[in-house]
Point group: C2
Chain length 170, copies 2
């Protein structure tokens, strides 16, 4: 499996982990008798995006990385979510979409010329795009979502973050 395709597979796993953290957030809200949707508005700083937008951005970063590295068109997912259930549905939609990719979609991805809508007149190689932008940005939003939930008292630990590992016996 190429490292590019492995990154796409991993982003699917991390989004599924994120869905699990939100599920624990809902349980925490119920135990503490507050509306779980309140969590979606929590921010770590007044001028940083709240959890809702961190979830949407995590999905978008994974989706656009796969699209740009394979030369495919990413499906449109307008940012209309307002509830935890809608956010979780957005994650499930994104994961299902990522499941349509196969290893061969990323043949030649490292040398692909990637154009970015927010960088007019500029291009970046697929390899640099993955390493310098897609991965740091994806983990930025996923980790910030995790941090907001931890800051809100949701009982999460490092294994919730990392998820299952492809280890084998010696």
């Amino acid at each position: 499996m190429s490292l590019v395709f492995a990154s796409v597979v991993e982003s699917k796993k991390m989004l599924t982990n994120l869905d699990g953290w939100i599920e624990k957030g809902v349980a925490h809200a119920k135990a503490r008798s507050f509306d779980p949707n309140v969590l979606l508005g929590v921010r770590l700083a007044p001028d940083q995006y709240p959890l809702l937008r961190q979830i949407q951005s995590s999905c978008d970063n994974a989706k656009f990385a796969a699209a740009r590295l394979s030369g495919k068109e990413a499906p449109k997912h307008p940012d209309t979510e307002q509830t935890v259930d809608e956010c979780r549905a957005r994650i499930h939609t994104c994961v299902s979409h990522l499941e349509t990719y196969k290893a061969s979609d990323f043949d030649g991805a490292e040398t692909r010329v990637v154009t970015l809508p927010f960088m007019e007149g500029k291009v970046i190689s697929g390899s640099d795009y993955l390493i310098e932008m897609a991965l740091p940005n994806f983990y930025f939003h996923v980790t910030t979502a995790y941090a907001i939930l931890r800051h809100s008292g949701v009982p999460l630990g490092k294994m919730d973050y990392i998820g299952s590992l492809n280890v084998r016996d010696k």
Copy 2:
């Protein structure tokens, strides 16, 4: 450049970015007349590591990833830092160490059998180690450090996080 080596190069850049965030944190502390070292004790949750440990862990994750993927021995850096200056020196030491690696050190890294001190009797392939552990963990600690500084009022933005990009004209 292989994606494995590119990841090591990127981890060096992210550590240098982290050093820049801390520098902005020092300036923020001076402007607000508080001791910058106070920032090192800030946490997002009472049972999560404070900034000091996030910095040390960022360095260690980058250092151990390079060592495990190249089959080299990582230098020992005991966690003795107590001040901002000592933390920044730790980052500089780690970056200098990472600069000793060259592309050929990572030939065959993807199929290398990696053993982990905290997973007795288990092994993982270099590829899975990089994608499932090294990158998610590195970005976890770097992003959490960033989040702690943002939460503490340090004026940082996304470009401070991402740093320079290897883009070129169309």
